[in-house]
Symmetry: C2
């Protein structure tokens, strides 16, 4: 038995003598009141006041001008990419260290993921590597960025604020500007995470949030699109609501669109959850602090800490194994999960999945290294409460 | 003012002195209990017992071997068509008299809607017209039905049980068999409707249900896929849950797929609603009977009655205007809606919408006639209660 594994298991068992999940929601606020209002009034579905209210609360919290609630984060990202202009055979730069939805959303638009490497300090897209890769493969022709090797347009870059940690947005925005790339933020994991004092999701022309059951707040299933652009917001609302033209009774639709609206009952849950978000964030930071402290003495692993420019939501706490200790990771996964402590490795890198293995890519050394060294720890807000 | 309009308005005002919606859900059963169980246990999202239970209840009610719950009816139909083998540039036969989702789902697969005419007695696809159209345009080449004019494969037929009234399935099944077409039933509107004693949704290789807020039962937003084929059911489950390969901790996905799972909290609502479905169906039939009686004396209109072979759920009651009285329809829509009685015309026929206007089609005389003559009446189950 690996001594690192034993140390980690002992520490986690000390913190959590009972079995513990990776991330569980807490319904300690007005959830029941709001859901009951939906049931009592009959408004559970596509019409009802909680969708508007949830969008308003999200706009206020994130500082985004416009918010469109959607059925989930995947749907939000799909619409972000469609409105960023991604079409058949366009390439979209994305990191491989992310949930599969990031690449699937590109495919829904007919696009092709083009993988770029990650940064060890942010876990997200590395601006320096991105720039040197684009220098190598990209050329601007008639105002369009083109991959010289595949001869396909490169339309957009999706950055992911991995596990809630913001990528270094300023240099990335510059690169996108130079290379005529539309920037989309996959902020599915970063509600409550700030880059240089401002909430993530406000740098891309459009950004996607997620409220899946394992996220900082949940609506059961749900997501949202953020944008500063009124016209894009209107288009997003239109595309997510079957492109129905407003009319008192007629059913007229004017383009191919989607049934991506968030039901009112799920929005009701979201309103109640958002009210508690500041508390959840406080608890999550306390938990992160606790992890940083207890693992500081364990040789061979290091707690991942938010980048210096950021205030992260620590959605999912990360323990990074030293390169020499990667063999201990699989053993640790087995031992902790066997003992009822849910831990998880990184997602299998997307460029290694069969449907994406032939997609274009830069060197992916850092992502590949991180994927073998990364362990997610139990991260529910409730675990950060002072006496939990 | 049209005298037909006045007669209809007077009759409806007599039935509904207060304002009345087109279709409202009733939450009179265990909705609160089940939703509260979700909140109390924290299981609101992708895992939880209500999804399995809802699928089981649906299988029992419909007699379908396998049921896969989805996020909505559109998502269900998308997956039905993908599993029916619809690919880029395949044609799919569909009626134009349906909600836009039927055609959108074809487009999501890269397919092309090919419109076929409706039958006056069922409001759905007319088997005789379908057959004569296929005789004219279709040929079987190497076991594949091909449109001789466009040279594209015709892969499937989607029938819609319009407003809950079953199409004549037996001859349609024969035509599909002869022309090697995969039959998919868009049963979004026909939960609780039977064809020759068996529940709709059991003739297609796959069928789609919807539980949108305006349907016979609702989950807020939700849908389901029905099939008798175990392998197709497994594929449907896989494709609707991001194609995640089962593993205790690793995140591996083996094909491009979707986040179409129904959240547990919405399934909880569905379980409670399904328990009340027999009662809703009774009330809806009483309401239909009431309408048939009160409008029997009004010259110029006729209540649409279920086909002789069918027992319909009368999801949405239909008043058909005589050809000579089509001008009265728009006036009636205005007057009834102005007076707080929600009525609705047919959907604008899909082949008239800009994104589908160049799609192939047969003659569509009956659909075009029906669309100018059809008025939907308030149809909430509660309106059929004896003393409502």
């Amino acid at each position: 038995m690996s001594s690192i594994t034993d140390k980690i298991t002992t520490i986690l068992k000390g913190l959590f003598p009972e079995s513990v999940s990776l991330h569980e929601p807490v319904f300690g606020g007005n959830e029941w009141d709001y859901v009951k209002q939906c049931l009592d009034t009959g408004w559970v579905s596509s019409a009802g006041k909680f969708v508007d209210r949830f969008e308003g609360q999200l706009a206020e919290f994130t500082g985004s001008e416009h918010v469109v609630a959607t059925i989930n984060g995947t749907a939000a990202l799909h619409i972000c990419l469609q409105l960023a202009g991604v079409q058949q055979d366009d390439e979209v730069l994305i990191p491989p260290l992310t949930f599969v939805a990031t690449a699937n959303a590109v495919k829904y638009c007919g696009g092709i993921p083009h993988f770029v490497d990650s940064n060890e300090k942010t876990l997200g897209v590395d601006p320096e590597k991105l720039e040197s890769h684009l220098k190598e493969v990209a050329v601007i022709r008639s105002g369009v960025c083109v991959n010289k090797i595949t001869e396909r347009p490169i339309k957009a870059l999706v950055v992911v604020h991995t596990f809630g940690h913001p990528v270094d947005l300023d240099p990335i925005v510059k690169i996108c500007h130079y290379y005529k790339l539309k920037l989309v933020e996959d902020a599915a994991e970063s509600l409550g995470s700030y880059y240089k004092g401002h909430h993530t999701g406000n740098w891309g022309i459009l950004s996607a949030l997620s409220f899946n059951g394992n996220k900082v707040i949940t609506t059961g299933g749900g997501g949202a699109i953020l944008t500063q652009d009124k016209k894009l917001a209107e288009q997003a609302k239109h595309l997510t609501t079957t492109a129905k033209v407003s009319h008192k009774w007629a059913y007229i639709h004017n383009c191919i669109a989607y049934n991506y609206r968030l039901p009112n009952i799920n929005a009701a849950l979201g309103c109640a959850q958002l009210e508690q978000l500041p508390q959840f964030l406080t608890e999550k930071r306390l938990l992160a602090k606790k992890y940083i402290k207890v693992f500081s003495g364990v040789e061979g692993v290091v707690s991942f800490i938010e980048p210096s420019y950021a205030r992260s939501n620590y959605w999912m706490n990360v323990l990074l194994f030293d390169k020499e200790c990667v063999n201990d990771l699989e053993i640790t996964l087995k031992q902790t999960n066997d003992q009822g402590i849910m831990t998880r490795p990184a997602w299998n890198l997307l460029h290694t999945l069969p449907m994406f293995e032939n997609c274009p890519r830069s060197g992916l050394e850092t992502a590949e290294s991180l994927a073998t060294r990364l362990l997610n720890l139990p991260s529910s807000p409730i675990l950060g409460m002072p006496y939990s």
